[in-house]
């Protein structure tokens, strides 16, 4: 008699542990504390009331709207077998795939030479984790490749190296930006009112001077990357650059567009490159199609305007070869510019000799852009820092 309920309890406990594990496989961020709390939730909600258990676990395990929308499917797949099991369990495969690639990473990492097809990932891990060697090779490689136009690099190995450098560049950018702002902190004029206020705590002796020009905050970055066919030679590099940016700046966000606009911040933040690729592939169905910048920016304005603040720096990466209506593009750009601090347009074409802005859409866009800069090689990306720090 006594044994039955405890058996039941343990079996439910282990089912719950299994559920948490499955949630983790599906990219829910669940810590140990939450795992323990799932047991409390189950005890509080009672496992006999499915709906209540669902709500309880949902509140506990979800972290954002995306999780919120996926949760029901996951819950049903686990607790109500025979429903939709197959679709959900696809993802754990990506997680198991991870192991061999990491092993490959440590094996070929020292060789420092992009080997066969999977060599992309090792180079990556090296840049992320094994800092000393990775950075050094990066520095010399940087000089070698800094001036090369992205489209001239046809060799696979060079291409990957370049992508890695672009990402590293973005990561370093943050450090340098912040240092510059610290230097600015001193100097300028003394703010008398605040200095008097601060002197109160020292009995009227102005021990603490307050300056007018105080610590300036790094801008919020927002990247909109063109991944249409005309950009296909460049888009990989820029996606890696975007990845570096969103990982270095917590407040950054990134979008990709071709005929429609998709948010890719979360996908880029994935630490596992294979998973990142899978999720990018999932949201990118129909990539490299035609371009409709105007419509895409309209979608941005409709759905994601809240991301624009007076501190946001919007960077649009595109060649401006557009099949949409120029007037619409101009209107949307004007709209974005009103809400943000600065609108920067990066065009890989601008670096080519003899290139003139002639397309109707680019001409329409020009009056609404604060900075139009080339982005065809690493040097031009590096030059961006000045734009960012001059804000």
């Amino acid at each position: 008699m006594n044994a039955t309920p405890t058996n039941l309890a343990t079996s439910i406990q282990s089912r719950l542990v299994g559920f948490v594990r499955m949630a983790r496989f599906n990219d829910f961020r669940v810590g140990v504390a939450e795992e323990i709390d799932t047991q409390r939730v189950a005890a509080l909600c009672g496992v006999d009331d499915v709906q209540r258990l669902r709500w309880g676990l949902r509140a506990l395990l979800c972290n954002n709207q995306d999780d919120w929308e996926r949760f029901d499917e996951l819950f049903d797949a686990y607790w109500r077998p025979g429903n939709v099991r197959q679709r959900i369990q696809e993802q754990p495969r990506a997680a198991t795939l991870r192991k061999p690639s990491q092993d490959a990473g440590s094996a070929s990492g020292n060789a420092n030479q992009p080997a066969a097809s999977e060599a992309d990932e090792p180079g990556y891990d090296e840049g992320d984790n094994a800092a000393p060697t990775g950075v050094r090779s990066g520095a010399s490689a940087f000089e070698r490749m800094a001036g090369a136009d992205f489209r001239q690099l046809v060799d696979d190995g060079q291409m990957r190296e370049l992508e890695r450098l672009a990402e590293q560049l973005a990561r370093h950018m943050r450090r340098r930006l912040i240092r510059r702002q610290k230097v600015q902190r001193h100097g300028r004029r003394i703010d008398l009112r605040h200095t008097f206020r601060a002197s109160l705590r020292y009995g009227g002796t102005p021990l603490e001077l307050v300056f007018r020009h105080r610590y300036r905050r790094p801008p919020r970055l927002l990247l909109i990357v063109d991944v249409s066919r005309s950009m296909s030679l460049y888009s990989n590099v820029f996606l890696r650059f975007a990845r570096g940016i969103v990982n270095a700046f917590q407040e950054a966000s990134a979008f990709a567009y071709h005929t429609t606009l998709v948010p890719i911040t979360e996908a880029l933040r994935q630490s596992d490159p294979i998973r990142m690729r899978t999720s990018l592939a999932l949201i990118s169905q129909g990539w490299s199609g035609g371009t409709r910048i105007g419509e895409c920016l309209e979608k941005f304005n409709r759905d994601y305007r809240r991301l624009l603040t007076s501190r946001t720096l919007v960077m649009i990466v595109s060649d401006g070869l557009d099949t949409g209506e120029p007037a619409l593009l101009a209107r949307q750009l004007a709209d974005i510019r009103q809400q943000c601090r600065k609108l920067v347009w990066l065009s890989p074409l601008l670096g080519r000799e003899g290139y003139e802005i002639k397309t109707a859409s680019m001409l329409a866009a020009l009056p609404h852009i604060d900075v139009l800069a080339p982005a065809h090689n690493l040097q031009s990306l590096l030059a961006l820092e000045d734009t960012l720090s001059s804000l």
Binding site: D49, W55, L60, N63, N64, R201, R306, L307
Partner: protein
């Protein structure tokens, strides 16, 4: 069984305080009070995120302490500050008497001269208050990190005084509008609930609960109209708060039905549409169609 009833009970007491919550939200709130984890509420503007905190404080009959976040929010305005003027006065007064420097120092750095800001106030209450941290996404990353520490230990250290530990654990509600991605650490620590725009029945009962004097016919029309309006391609969709404003405006204009007085509807649209583009998007024929559908 009893669990089931408790969700219903909470739902009813929320309704009694003027907040119509669906069962899922009531279940989350029940869990929230039992687990004592902070609750992160997200959702579009005007779906009633802030209201949740207000109504909980009503239901629990405890004070509501609100911290509105903004860029540049710092410890001085969110946690504590010394009352410098009073301290200076005290020093002047102490100079006359014969008090040893040590005890003078102890005196001027005592609780008496400490200005409590919302976070400190929240943890020094004898009974658990509801602490509403509104629009946390507007605050800086640094503040978020500080908050994280506070939410895990529920203690605040004031260098001159020592560590102040919470006398009671506040019910912490955070709201976010998504202007910035919150850190994973903070999200992980919180329970999460996403509030959607209410469906027809729910919005109808909200309007009846908030504006009891409205006639059933007008209420039905208003809700149908607003629900349809949300489906339009608008820059700023009207929330529940806007709908309530609109009801108030219509009642003020003595409107009994949308179809009877289309001009009044046009005049009062300012309550629902908050940008020039949106106002232009709802042109005459569309408006007529919307009214016809609602009636």
């Amino acid at each position: 069984m009893t669990e089931h009833n408790r969700v219903g009970e909470l739902q009813q007491s929320l309704a009694g305080a003027g907040y119509i919550a669906d069962r899922a939200l009531a279940a989350t709130l029940l869990l929230f009070t039992e687990l004592q984890r902070p609750l992160l509420l997200e959702g579009d503007a005007g779906v009633g995120k802030t209201e949740v905190a207000r109504v909980l404080s009503d239901v629990f009959a405890c004070p509501l302490i609100r911290l509105q976040c903004y860029e540049g929010l710092d410890v001085n305005s969110s946690v504590y500050e010394w009352n410098y003027q009073h301290q200076l006065l005290a020093i002047k007064l102490l100079e006359r008497g014969e008090v040893s420097p040590d005890s003078a120092e102890q005196h001027i750095f005592s609780q008496k001269y400490l200005l409590e800001r919302p976070l400190l106030r929240a943890i020094t209450q004898p009974d658990s208050p509801v602490l509403l941290i509104d629009e946390i996404d507007r605050a800086d990353e640094e503040f978020e990190a500080y908050l994280l520490e506070l939410l895990s230990d529920f203690q605040i250290s004031v260098p001159e005084l020592g560590t102040i530990t919470a006398r009671s654990r506040p019910y912490v509600i955070l709201t976010s509008n998504g202007t910035r991605e919150l850190s994973d650490a903070l999200r992980r620590r919180c329970l999460y609930h996403y509030l959607e725009y209410p469906d027809f029945d729910k919005e109808l009962s909200i309007i009846h609960a908030r504006v009891p004097e409205i006639g059933p016919q007008l209420a039905r029309q208003v809700v149908a109209f607003v629900q349809e309006l949300r489906k339009q391609d608008l820059r700023k969709k009207p929330g529940v708060a806007e709908a309530l404003d609109w009801v108030a405006a219509l009642l003020n204009l003595r409107v009994t039905g949308l179809a009877e007085d289309p001009q009044a509807v046009v005049d009062s649209l300012v309550c629902l549409l908050k940008t020039r583009e949106d106002r232009a998007a709802i042109h005459e024929p569309l408006l007529e169609r919307l009214i016809a559908q609602a009636v």
